[in-house]
C-alpha cells in the first residue's frame, strides 16, 4: 500500500536485497530530508541568534520554523515549550537533573513502568538513590503485555513526585493509556514524564488530549538525522527550572559576579545547537504527515500481524501475545532453543536486519523471564516481501540448528 514510498529512501535503493527490520532502533532517511538539510548548509547557514546580518537571520528563522512545526506536530501552540537536545536520552536526563533535583526529597516516590527503555529508567533510579527516595516499578500483564493500570493505581500516593512512562515500548510495542495515567497523576499531584521516542514514528500524537508535564522524543527514530532530540515541558515548569548546562546562547547578562539566564527554551540550549538536525526533523514531519500517520500505523501493523501469523504457522516461535494486541510494527519473538544472537547472526548473513539482545530494557526482559529477545520492527518502507524474507530467514535458522 505504501510501496511507492520505498524508493524515497536512498539506503534501501543503494542496498538492493536488504531487508531492514530495525527501524525501532533507527529509521532510514528519505532523500527529501537529506536534501533539505543539504540545502540549508549550502544556502542559509550561519550561527543562529548571534549574527546581525541577513544570513544569520535566515538561519535563525529556519531553526525557529522547525520549532514551530514540531510544536504543531505534537499538538501544542507554544513553540517555546520545546527544548532542542541531542536525543531522547539527553531530554530525560535534563528533566531528572533539573526539576528532578528540585522537587524530589527523601522519602518521596518516583514511579516508572517495567517496560521503560534504560533512558527512562536509569536517570530516575539514580535520582531516587541520590535523594533517598523510592523507585516504584509498575509491571505489565503477561498475557496482553499491557501496562498493569491497577498496579499503577495502587502504587501512586501523595508522595509520588513523578510518573515516568513510555508511550510505546521499544521491545513490545505496547502503548499505555496516557490519558488515564495523566489523570491519575494529576489527582495525586505527581508530574508525568512520557517517553514518546517510539510512539511518534508510528502514531498520531496530540498532547493537548492528555496534557503531559514532560514528553521527549528522538529525531532519528522518525526519519530525521541522528543527534537531534526534543524535550517538551509545560511552560510553567520550564520557567521555574534551573538550567541544565550553562555557557553561550543561554544567558541574558553576564558580569564577573553573576549571570542571569535567557527565557526558555534558550535557557536550556547552551552552546551552538545542531541546526541541521532541526531542519531535518522539520522535513521529516512534513514527509510523515504527507503520507499520514494513520496510514503508516495501519501499514506497519498489518505487516507485523502478517509476520506474526506466518511465524505462528512455523511453530517453535514464541510470540508473547495475541495478534489483536499488536498496534504497530514492533514484533518481539524468540525461537525455542536458539539464542537471539544466533538468530540475528543467521538473519544478518542473509541481509535481514533485526535486533537481538536486551534492547536497552533489561528490567523488562528479566520480567518476561528471558535473557534476550529478537525484535523485528516494520516501518512505512517495508513490504510483504520483507515479511517473506524474514520467514525464510527463520526457516534457515531452524535448519542450521537442525530444529
Amino acid at each position: 500500500m505504501l510501496e511507492r514510498f520505498r524508493k524515497d529512501f536512498p539506503v534501501l535503493e543503494n542496498n538492493p536485497g536488504l531487508t531492514y527490520l530495525d527501524s525501532a532502533a533507527s529509521t532510514q532517511k528519505p532523500a527529501v530530508v537529506l536534501e533539505k538539510m543539504d540545502h540549508f548548509y549550502r544556502f542559509d547557514y550561519a550561527n543562529i541568534h548571534r549574527g546581525l546580518y541577513n544570513l544569520s537571520e535566515r538561519a535563525t528563522a529556519s531553526y525557529e520554523a522547525a520549532r514551530t512545526r514540531i510544536a504543531e506536530f505534537i499538538g501544542t501552540a507554544v513553540p517555546e515549550s520545546l527544548v532542542f537536545t541531542r536525543n531522547a536520552t539527553e531530554s530525560l536526563n535534563l528533566i531528572a537533573a533539573t526539576i528532578g533535583e528540585q522537587i524530589v526529597h527523601k522519602g518521596d516516590e518516583i514511579i516508572v513502568s517495567v517496560m521503560e527503555h534504560h533512558a527512562n529508567f536509569v536517570p530516575w533510579q539514580q535520582l531516587a538513590a541520590r535523594k533517598d527516595a523510592k523507585l516504584k516499578v509498575v509491571g505489565i500483564d503477561r498475557k496482553t503485555l499491557e501496562l498493569d493500570m491497577a498496579a499503577l493505581e495502587s502504587a501512586i500516593t501523595g508522595k509520588t513526585r513523578f510518573v515516568c512512562c513510555t508511550m510505546a515500548s521499544n521491545v513490545l510495542g505496547t502503548t499505555p493509556n496516557v490519558a488515564k495515567i495523566s489523570k491519575l497523576a494529576k489527582k495525586h499531584g505527581a508530574l508525568t514524564v512520557f517517553d514518546a521516542a517510539q510512539f511518534v514514528p508510528h502514531h498520531k500524537l496530540d498532547i493537548s488530549t492528555f496534557d503531559p508535564d514532560f514528553l521527549v522524543l528522538s529525531g532519528h527514530k522518525m526519519l530525521a538525522v541522528d543527534g537531534f532530540g526534543v524535550l517538551y515541558g509545560k511552560p510553567e515548569h520550564l520557567a521555574a527550572m534551573p538550567p541544565y548546562m550553562t555557557g553561550g546562547d543561554m544567558i541574558e547578562n553576564v558580569t564577573i559576579e553573576k549571570t542571569t539566564y535567557s527565557e526558555p527554551p534558550q535557557k536550556f540550549e547552551a552552546g551552538t545547537p545542531f541546526m541541521g538536525g532541526a531542519i531535518s526533523l522539520h522535513a521529516a514531519i512534513d514527509y510523515l504527515e504527507n503520507i499520514g500517520l494513520d496510514r503508516i500505523q495501519e501499514h506497519e501493523s498489518a505487516l507485523a500481524k502478517l509476520a506474526d501469523e506466518k511465524l505462528r504457522a512455523i511453530g517453535k516461535v514464541k510470540l508473547y501475545r495475541k495478534p489483536e494486541h499488536i498496534h504497530n510494527g514492533i514484533l518481539p519473538f524468540n525461537i525455542e532453543g536458539i539464542h537471539p544472537h544466533d538468530v540475528a547472526t543467521i538473519l544478518g548473513d542473509m541481509d535481514i536486519c533485526v535486533r537481538a539482545g536486551h534492547h536497552c530494557a533489561q528490567p523488562l526482559i528479566h520480567f518476561m523471564g528471558e535473557m534476550a529477545m529478537v525484535r523485528a520492527s516494520f516501518y512505512l518502507y517495508n513490504t510483504e516481501k520483507d515479511v517473506d524474507r524474514l520467514i525464510a530467514g527463520i526457516q534457515k535458522t531452524l535448519e542450521v540448528f537442525h530444529k
Binding site: 537471539p340 544472537h341 547472526t345 539482545g357 537442525h402
Partner: protein, 147 residues
C-alpha cells in the same frame, strides 16, 4: 547460506551448545570468576580446582548464545589436567588467534578447538567466543594474586 556461516555453526559447535560439558559443582574451588558480555548478555561462571600447579577439575557454566556456550564447553574439556602455566599460555594463544592479532598455527590444536575458527569471519561474534577464555584468564590471575 554462506559457507562462512556453515563454518561457524559446525555440528561440533552445535553439539557443545546443546550438551555443554563440565557444568558441575566442584568439591574444592581454588579460583573462580564470572564473565559478562554486555552487548548480548552472555554470562559465564568458571571455577577451577587446582593441585600442585595443575588444574585437576574445572566447571564452566554458561548462559548465552551457541558460540559462547560451545566455546566455554570446549575450553572446559581441554584445560582439565593441564598445568596452570600451560593453561595460561594456551588461553593467551586462543585469545590472540580469535582476535586475529597474529598468525598462529592451529593444526596442532585439538579438533574441537580448531572448530572455533569459524567465528573469526564474524567480528561481532568474536566477543562471544572469547568470553570464557578471558574469564578463565582472570580466574587464574585472581588465584595467582591470592597466593
Amino acid at each position: 547460506m554462506t559457507t562462512q556461516l556453515d563454518n561457524m555453526y559446525r555440528d561440533l559447535i552445535l553439539d557443545h551448545y546443546e550438551h555443554p560439558r563440565n557444568c558441575h559443582e566442584l568439591s574444592n574451588v581454588n579460583s573462580s570468576e564470572e564473565g559478562f558480555n554486555p552487548l548480548c548478555g552472555d554470562h559465564v561462571d568458571i571455577n577451577f580446582e587446582q593441585k600442585d600447579g595443575k588444574i585437576t577439575d574445572i566447571s564452566v557454566c554458561t548462559k548465552g548464545c551457541a558460540i559462547c556456550t560451545a566455546s566455554g564447553s570446549i575450553m572446559s574439556d581441554i584445560l582439565k589436567g593441564h598445568s596452570v602455566e600451560e593453561t595460561d599460555r594456551l588461553v593467551k594463544e586462543v585469545k590472540a588467534y580469535l582476535k586475529g592479532e597474529r598468525d598462529i598455527e592451529i593444526s596442532n590444536w585439538p579438533p574441537s578447538l580448531q572448530a572455533l575458527s569459524g567465528v573469526r569471519k564474524f567480528p561481532i561474534r568474536i566477543k562471544c567466543a572469547l568470553l570464557p577464555w578471558t574469564t578463565a584468564e582472570l580466574a587464574l590471575q585472581n588465584q595467582t594474586k591470592q597466593k
